[in-house]
């Protein structure tokens, strides 16, 4: 029987963060993960994260994973992969399947950071090949380099549905629609907008009526539903697709905790069956902790802080730090966590209908219902101002805890004010030098550099562009509206790709000047 001071189950963001904090304080740590690669979901996350500098903001998920792994490795954490913890038994003993044997390990403490699994919803045809989870689609694309399908319908407009839809577009798939039973887009407006401007239509208050196909998906029919979620006759719409992707939420994989006798609760706000834990992840069984999605579905950023808290807790549990030190450190993490749990999408606001921003501005209803801010709504947000010459236009219209834009500008021309969730605005008295750092830094791809009047009847719009192949200078095509419709002719003035932009290319297009505040994407003309 091998014994460790800390056994961590799951090498995702929370598990690795816990391992790092525990190892830093001198504990002997092992992390088991059933996958062949560590990092959990981080390695599928090719988009830039929201948050503040301290929370890895504007860093892409997989990079965060690499950083965590390096740090854990440097601290001597043992990360054992292809190691399935098959059971958590009395006395904090785990059975781990490694290779073709069962290994027994005991932990003085155990941290369960097993994450979550994807939910499914049922409709006739849901078991046909071609109906897949959004997470599975992400794995296929981002880990294995395989297109999940050619024509895809996405069910679910939460952040997962939106982010994966965008990634599907990046992978060259056609996303025919994003469908959600709720009347409003569930995820961040900026995520919705970057999909909408590529021309993907949103169908809110809709659900799948059935999926057609004999051996595999060949089509899908959706219909509108009323406020009691009952279908409205005559509202059917049919799409020919080969894939239906479901992004309808996650369920904590809390089975090990239940097996170990930890007190559990069924909490819909946390995503399902979760352990009863205190604010630092301590379960009802002494020495067993839970961190990350397993104790309540949230973001990777909060999972990492929860992991850190558990790491500090086990250090105190085993006498490596004293109670006072623990509390001081936990309080600091709690503050971090609290700052992440702010804004319109904070756990406390889940399910609430928010009509005004913190600044008192009416929320864009078009954004909530169709996925993009309408032309007549955009002007009311503080990031959208007009100036002579090139200047940033920040189409950030919801209060979310994110502020990389503030630090991105070398001239400090952008500010989110006193609160990380406030909407960013452009300072009047500072000159924009057209460097593009703000455009590349915005994880929501919501910042544009616009010169509204170049003096020759044209305007230029610089936008973030993350598709291949990259258009070339001189390419002709169309300016697309926020809705993704061709609204004008456009010519590519330049495409900038520098290291500091971290794979976000800056495409500048020239459009007729009346479209300066309307054209937000470029589509190359078909030859």
């Amino acid at each position: 029987m091998k014994r460790y001071e800390v056994i961590i189950v799951g090498a995702g963001p929370s598990g690795l963060s816990a391992a790092i904090e525990a190892a830093k304080r001198g504990l002997k740590v092992v992390v088991f993960d059933e996958n062949e690669k560590p990092g959990g979901q981080l390695f599928k996350q090719i988009h830039k994260f929201f948050g503040s500098k301290e929370h890895h903001a504007k860093i892409r998920g997989f990079k965060i994973g690499e950083e965590l792994l390096q740090e854990a490795d440097a601290l001597g954490v043992e990360v054992i992969l292809n190691a399935t913890v098959v059971g958590l038994y009395p006395d904090k003993e785990v059975n781990v399947k490694i290779g073709d044997q069962i290994h027994h390990y005991k932990g003085d403490t155990v941290i369960i950071a097993t994450g979550a699994s994807e939910n499914m919803v049922t409709f006739p045809g849901w078991t046909l090949p071609g109906v897949i989870g959004a997470g599975a689609a992400q794995t296929m694309m981002n880990l294995h380099g395989i297109q999940p399908g050619k024509k895809i319908l996405m069910l679910g407009s939460g952040n997962v549905g939106l982010v994966v839809s965008f990634q599907l577009l990046q992978a060259g798939c056609e996303v025919v629609a994003i469908v959600d039973a709720l009347p409003r887009v569930g995820g961040y407006g900026v995520h919705a907008s970057k999909v909408a401007r590529c021309g993907v239509p949103f169908y809110l208050s809709h659900t799948i009526k059935e999926v057609q196909g004999k051996d595999k998906v060949t089509g899908v029919t959706i219909h509108q539903i009323d406020e009691r979620f009952m279908p409205i006759a005559g509202t059917e719409k049919h799409f020919e697709v080969d894939t239906v992707c479901m992004a309808v939420g996650l369920s904590p994989m809390s089975q090990l905790l239940k097996m170990a006798g930890c007190a559990m609760e069924d909490n819909p706000k946390r995503g399902g069956q979760v352990p009863l834990v205190n604010e630092y992840g301590e379960t009802s069984v002494s020495g067993i902790f839970a961190a990350g999605d397993v104790s309540g579905i949230e973001e990777a950023s909060s999972a990492m802080i929860e992991g850190k808290m558990a790491g500090v807790c086990v250090a105190e549990y085993l006498g490596y730090i004293d109670e006072d030190t623990k509390m001081t450190e936990l309080k600091a993490f709690e503050k971090d966590l609290d700052s992440l749990r702010q804004g319109m999408f904070a756990p406390k606001n889940r399910g609430k209908k928010i009509e005004k921003t913190d600044e008192g501005i009416d929320i864009s209803t078009n954004l909530l219902e169709k996925g993009y801010v309408a032309d007549d709504e955009i002007e009311r947000f503080p990031g959208v101002t007009h100036k002579k010459g090139v200047h940033p236009v920040i189409e950030c219209t919801q209060n979310i805890p994110c502020n990389p834009c503030q630090d991105a500008c070398p001239k400090k021309c952008i500010s989110t004010g006193d609160n990380i969730t406030y909407l960013p605005f452009v300072k009047d008295d500072v000159e924009c030098i057209n460097c593009g750092m703000c455009v590349a830094s915005c994880s929501g791809q919501a910042i544009f550099l616009v010169d509204e009047d170049c003096g020759d009847g044209t305007a230029t719009v610089t936008l973030p562009y993350e598709f291949l192949p990259l258009p070339q200078e001189g390419d002709k095509g169309y300016g697309l509206s926020r809705k993704g419709e061709k609204i004008c002719e456009a010519t590519v003035v330049s495409v900038k790709s520098v290291k500091a932009f971290d794979h976000t290319n800056l495409l500048t297009m020239r459009v007729p000047k009346e479209y300066a505040m309307k054209a937000r994407f470029f589509k190359k003309a078909e030859v």
């Binding site: 059971g87 038994y89 009395p90 006395d91 003993e93 027994h104 097996m259 170990a260 006798g261 559990m264």
Partner: protein, 380 residues
């Protein structure tokens, strides 16, 4: 006392025994209320056992019940209850690999034959003929062709379903705290918030029976042991016999579904502890691996079968290894049916019918005289 909490008989425990008793009582026209302490019907051994419907290997005192049930009740049970209980009467092989094993098997066989059971010793060739999938190391077995197995989960729920349909009132999550005698006869059953009243009270609550019976001064000498079972994914059909071994390394069968259900022990059962969740005792880390090794010694062909689940359950083991059944002279109105010692499932229907008969007609048709309370005496 509200009338709605009264019945002819109050049955405590909704396992196979309580459900079967309530069904056969209802069939005889009695009004019955069944009180189950956990949230689930059949939460104890009834849903955790290996599904054996055996006569061989049984103590002569309970063998008549086993033989009676297999002859009269099991064959028509699925039809009677309207649910397929997956009963197979295709024999039990108790396997041996060494001369010592054969000696143990011979002893069991001789005792059963003396009670009139059709069981015999067979050699390796005959074993192979009955079950060609066994290891070549098996040198002999005892063979009882009328033994078999059924699905314990479904059988228990089938009794419940049918009894409920016929009007038996089942109340789950209703843990009995004490019994109460009124004017010299047991009449009342107290739970945290309710009182139930009946002409008869049947205590069929597994090991919990001990605490319940203690409230009227009755003590069944029993203890509990935490044992485990496991189940594989569905495999192609291989055989229908019930299997066991001379050394009890494992026991089990292949279900209609195709999965193999095997039970067994690590040897530490007396002291296995339970730190598991409510309603579901925990497994020990070393038991399932031990059962697997036991199985593979006899069934090398199963080494690639995938285990999908393991579980643990308590045996309510009587001091002398057989149940306590029937009236208790000192407490009129009380009927006891507990301490089945890990082999109650197979005799469940027979116990149910006979206890109903006892309550309604005052006597059983099968001799249960060796199973009565009051048989326990000091050894000298």
């Amino acid at each position: 006392m509200e009338a709605k909490n009264s019945a002819d008989v109050i049955v405590i425990g909704a396992g196979i025994i309580g459900c079967a008793i309530s069904y056969y009582l209802r069939k005889r026209g009695k009004n019955v209320i069944v009180l189950e302490g956990s949230d689930n019907i059949g939460n104890g051994g009834s849903s955790r056992n290996g599904g054996g419907v055996r006569q061989s290997g049984r103590d002569p005192r309970e063998l008549p019940l086993a033989m009676y049930g297999i002859k009269n009740l099991w064959p028509g049970l699925s039809e009677e209850l309207g649910v397929n209980c997956e009963y197979h009467k295709e024999g039990n092989l108790r396997l041996g690999k060494t001369p010592e094993h054969l000696k143990i098997l011979q002893g069991l066989t001789d005792r059963a034959v003396a009670c009139g059971l059709d069981v015999k010793m067979i050699d390796a060739a005959e074993v192979k003929k009955i079950n060609p999938h066994l290891s070549d190391e098996v040198i002999g077995a005892s063979w009882c062709p009328t033994d078999g197995h059924a699905n314990p989960l479904v059988t228990t729920l089938a009794f419940y379903k049918k009894a409920r349909e016929m009007g038996v009132r089942f109340i789950t999550g209703e843990k009995v705290e004490r019994l109460r005698k009124v004017k010299g006869r047991l009449r009342e059953v107290y739970t945290k918030d309710n009182v139930y009243e009946g002409e008869y009270v049947v205590v069929a609550a597994g090991y919990e029976s001990r605490d319940i019976l203690a409230t009227v001064g009755v003590d069944v000498p029993m203890h509990k042991e935490l044992v485990e079972c496991l189940v594989t994914e569905a495999e192609p059909h291989m055989f229908n016999q019930m299997l066991g071994t001379a050394e009890a390394d494992f026991y089990g069968h292949q279900s209609d579904h195709g999965s193999f259900v095997f039970g067994g022990m690590s040897g530490l059962e007396l002291n296995n502890k339970n730190t598991g969740p409510k309603n579901s005792p925990s497994n020990a880390a070393i038991t399932a691996p031990c059962i697997c090794r036991g199985i593979m010694k006899y069934f090398p062909a199963l080494e690639d079968a995938k285990i999908v689940r393991t579980w643990a359950g308590y045996l309510d083991i009587c001091q002398d290894g057989v149940p306590v059944l029937g009236f208790v002279d000192e407490v009129p109105g009380l009927v006891v049916a507990c301490a089945f010692s890990g082999h109650g499932f197979g005799i469940g229907p027979a116990v149910g019918e006979q206890m109903a008969m006892l309550i309604c007609e005052g006597k059983t048709s099968v001799d249960i005289s060796g199973l009565q309370y009051g048989r326990f005496k000091a050894k000298i």
